[in-house]
């Protein structure tokens, strides 16, 4: 696996870390049309969050396209070491976005797969690699897209509430999604964002990690839910469905009333939008 960012002269050349990434350049104009890549976990477990993302985008005057051929970004196989299988699933997704519209992903780790890891999967297929690099350049995690491309202005219509924000590790480290999430929440006048203990620490999901190493993962999610519950928050918000599945499953098992909600649903509800009412 050659890193996409370093110019490796020969496969055996000693590698340097990729150069420091500068700030991302955002388009000056908000686009008229976008693709939504829903992600597999959201598709099955949090479809209303996907619809809320669509409604937020539509409210910004953007026409949303949802390619029905989409499935999974390939991450589960990729992180399990089944690289060939991941590559073929990734290839199937690549075929879906033929227009040059931005691709918006309401789940941070899947957006990171498009943005950072597809290039590794196709490093020795030059034609595909060009396609992948173009896709990466127009892929946005939802919070980032709302904030930096739509330059959304949120008008809070809800009553005062305290909210804890959990950000998935890959979204935080690959795309700075925690900054975007905080910034969006800060636009809501009645919402007070509260910090929680060890906020940047992993919730213990980690894809197949949670079933391969149940003791360790269980200890991590117990600590995470305790920190969230101890933060004095009325609500927990996250923009990553894997984390939400993990955190909500643990809250439920512990018979706590607190549940994590997708950022898209929270933002839509606070600003007077109507959800489909489809509950998971």
């Amino acid at each position: 696996m050659s890193s996409p960012h370093s110019s490796v002269a020969t496969p055996q050349a000693t590698r340097l870390a990729p150069p420091l990434a500068g700030a991302r350049n955002y388009p000056a104009q908000k686009p008229a049309e976008v693709y939504l890549f829903g992600t597999c976990v959201l598709d099955l477990f949090f479809p209303e969050a996907g619809m809320d993302a669509i409604r937020l985008l539509e409210r910004e005057g953007i026409r949303v396209h949802f390619p029905q051929g989409q499935s999974c970004c390939g991450q589960p196989a990729y992180t399990s070491g089944y690289t060939d299988e991941a590559r073929e699933v990734a290839r199937a997704q690549l075929a879906l976005f033929s227009h040059d519209w931005p691709v918006v992903v309401p789940s941070g780790s899947c957006a990171g797969m498009f943005r950072h890891h597809y290039a590794e999967l196709f490093h020795d297929e030059p034609a595909t690699l060009r396609q992948v690099e173009a896709l990466a350049a127009r892929t946005y995690e939802l919070a980032e897209f709302l904030l930096e491309v739509c330059r959304i202005q949120l008008d809070d219509r809800g009553s005062p509430i305290k909210v804890a924000l959990h950000t998935s590790c890959s979204a935080r480290r690959e795309m700075g999604t925690h900054v975007h999430g905080r910034s969006l929440l800060s636009q809501l006048g009645q919402v007070e964002r509260v910090d929680h203990d060890h906020e940047s620490e992993c919730c213990g999901f980690g894809g197949t990690f949670c079933v391969r190493m149940p003791d360790i993962s269980g200890a991590m999610v117990r600590d995470k839910t305790a920190a969230l519950a101890g933060a004095g928050a009325d609500a927990v918000v996250s923009a990553d469905c894997g984390c939400l599945l993990n955190i909500n499953g643990a809250f439920e098992k512990q018979q706590q009333s607190l549940r994590g909600e997708h950022l898209a649903s929270f933002l839509l509800r606070r600003t007077g939008g109507k959800s489909d009412g489809v509950q998971s």
């Binding site: 029905q68 070491g81 590790c169 200890a219």
Partner: protein, 479 residues
């Protein structure tokens, strides 16, 4: 598939040890406290994020440059050390390294060896080996001394006794050194000082590790706070340094960025109390220092990592321990659960080269790939990417070429491979995928409440009544 038919004991016991560790409240508390302390100390040393990122990039470049000419630098190092009067030895395996040390010990009829902190000597299990040959081998770093006294292994590469609190050390000293029980840390350290000072005085041979071996000047650089490293390398008549072949840097000035990264990342210090640069034994007109200095250069699997340019990055490591300090897994289970000399994220990526993937097959999986380790690594080792790569090596068919690693395919399972192929088919066929979605949402009642490891700590996930594919099609039309 013989590779997993004769499963070795270590990986199985990893899960058992991890299980025990997460249920040990005292251990969890000790590690959480210690890791929080070390993370805060490091953060305080890097107030300027821009300086940190530029220095990490520089550190990465210095290490990568050294690796890009490693054989040349090792030869230059050897030539310059030899010119300075240091004897250089090479060992491919820990057995060879121990034999070299033993030869030197035997030549001097040495009975007592005092050791400064050295992870390579842990790798060699030198204490055990020398004791088997009738030689006393005493650790002098306070943390190492404590774990040796307790007949334990280090649980952290920088702070070996980090799993113990003061009360536990107090009990240990009381039992083993027959001193009055005290939890006063100053007093405990003074007891250690008095005990060990006598040993420095008596020792025939001092053993140390090396933080950086400098090719340009033929020098060995060691950092430490206690002074035991200086004692071990100065007082006994013979000094044996042991180190890995990757520890060499090209020029003296290359240590400036690495030193700054090392001490700030490791313990949150601008510099350690001592930086000790050794460039030779005692000269004719000098009144102290060892009469003989030896350097043992150990491979022990490093050349295997070196052979692949992705895995080679593992050898950038300067052993600061920041990856373990920031690792949520290490924080939960501590260092002993890994069952390896190097615990934590760096241990997971370096140990498979030393012991083979058979013996370490669960280690690459013991990560949520959260990326905290890669984010803090001062020399920018892409630890999560390497963990993923090791998972790939773990599940490749054992006989598949090219063969990158000893123990390739140690987790190869035909059944699991078929499952992923089925997953691939499902996710590359939109019709099948949508059918699956329909089935999962409509038949969600059939999901049992107990689905193995997931439901030990969580309720079973419940699919929604309709998929996003369906909702989106209703709302947006077919796209």
């Amino acid at each position: 598939m013989s590779a997993h038919a004769d499963t070795p004991a270590i990986p199985i016991s990893f899960k058992r040890r991890a299980h025990d560790a997460v249920h040990d409240a005292q251990l969890r508390k000790n590690f959480r406290g210690a890791m929080d302390f070390l993370m805060a100390k490091r953060a305080a040393q890097f107030p300027d994020g821009d300086e940190l990122e530029r220095l990490r990039a520089f550190g990465n470049r210095v290490r990568a440059r050294a690796l890009s000419k490693l054989p040349d630098l090792l030869q230059r190092l050897e030539a310059n050390l030899t010119r300075n009067g240091v004897k250089v030895h090479w060992a491919e395996t820990v057995d060879e390294a121990n034999a070299i040390v033993h030869q030197i010990v035997a030549a001097h009829e040495a009975k007592q060896v005092i050791k400064g902190k050295s992870m390579v000597s842990e790798e060699m299990e030198m204490n055990h080996y020398l004791e088997g040959h009738g030689v006393d081998c005493l650790e002098s770093d306070m943390g190492e001394f404590i774990v040796q006294l307790g007949n334990e292994k280090p649980s952290h590469i920088i702070m070996p006794a980090i799993h113990l609190n003061a009360g536990q050390v107090a009990s240990l000293f009381h039992d083993k050194l027959e001193v009055d029980y005290t939890e006063d840390v100053d007093r405990l350290i003074q007891i250690g000082r008095e005990t060990l000072r006598r040993k420095f005085f008596e020792a025939d041979i001092g053993v140390s590790g090396v933080n950086f071996a400098i090719a340009e000047t033929g020098s060995l650089l060691l950092v430490e706070n206690e002074g035991n490293g200086r004692m071990s390398t100065t007082v006994p008549p013979v000094h044996i340094a042991v180190t890995g072949i990757e520890k060499v840097v090209e020029n003296l000035r290359d240590v400036v960025p690495l030193l700054s990264l090392l001490t700030r990342s490791a313990t949150g210090q601008p510099i350690t109390t001592y930086v000790n640069v050794i460039s030779g034994p005692r000269k004719a007109d000098e009144l102290d220092g060892p009469q003989e200095v030896h350097l043992v250069l150990l491979d022990n699997g490093r050349s295997q990592a070196f052979a692949d340019s992705e895995l080679r990055q593992t050898l950038n490591c300067i052993r600061c321990g920041a990856c373990m300090n920031h690792c949520p897994v290490y924080t939960r289970i501590g260092g002993h659960a890994y069952g390896t000399v190097y615990p934590g994220p760096i241990g997971k990526i370096v140990t498979p080269h030393m012991l083979g993937l058979e013996a370490t097959r669960d280690l690459p999986s013991a990560s949520s790939l959260c990326g905290a380790c890669g984010e803090v690594c001062p020399v920018k080792i892409p630890i999560p990417a390497i963990l993923r790569r090791l998972r790939e090596e773990n599940v490749r068919p054992p006989a598949a070429e090219p063969h990158h690693m000893r123990g390739q395919g140690s987790k190869y399972s035909r059944r699991e491979r078929y499952a992923w192929k089925a997953w691939r088919t499902l996710n590359t066929s939109p019709r099948l995928y949508r059918l699956f979605g329909l089935a999962a949402t409509r038949l969600s009642g059939l999901i049992p409440a107990d689905i193995g490891p997931w439901t030990e700590h969580r309720s079973a996930p419940k699919p929604a009544t309709r998929t996003l594919h369906e909702l989106a099609r209703d709302h947006l039309g077919e796209d």
